[in-house]
């Protein structure tokens, strides 16, 4: 039961660093952002 969840059912995407500040609590926190070329390369 305590195993890693099925990766095929998950997705991830970069979000704004606004999330670093807990006072920011709106839909923009979980909105997808495009990374610049220097930031990209996760996968």
């Amino acid at each position: 039961m305590l195993k890693p969840f099925d990766a095929q059912l998950m997705r991830c995407y970069p979000v704004s660093t606004r999330i670093n500040y807990v006072a920011n609590d709106d839909a923009e926190c979980s909105a997808h952002v495009e990374l610049t070329e220097s930031q990209a390369g996760l996968f």
């Binding site: 039961m1 890693p4 990766a7 991830c12 670093n20 807990v22 930031q39």
Partner: protein
Amino acid sequence: MIEEYFDTVSDDDWTPRYNIAPTQPVPVIRQNPKEPRRELSLLRWGLIPSWAKDQSVAPQMINARSETAATKPAFRDPLTNRRCLIPADGFYEWQRRGKAKQPYCFEVNEGELFAFAGLWDRWRDPSGQWLKSCSILTTTPNVVTSAVHDRMPVILDPDRYDLWLDPGMTNVEAVSEC
């Protein structure tokens, strides 16, 4: 919506949030031990063991490693007797990139509700008030999360919710391994 999805009733007024930090209140679903119903209430994120001298341990107790929780004094008893669901529709992890950290949002089934496996405990403050708090179990990452972080929260299959919440199920090994 959470109440419907998880078949629970809410004890507290609360509003869904996009950004929750350690030591803040989070919605937690627990099984009523005497009646066949699940109850949703707000607990502080960062488990304070009942025997703690003060609250200062909370920020270090936001997560419990599933591999060792059964042997850790802070988590052993909650794992046996006080398991909970912590509902969400996403979570954030940060990837270190040199000095910077890039946050990523993780979702299940394109943004559907899901539940973390949680533990909870209660601690009595010096004024005699009970403070209830919780921790999220973690496990090894899958291929989606491993690109960002070396751990991931335990996300339960919905068909395991009843067993995870069952107060009568105190065989930790059986609960953990099924």
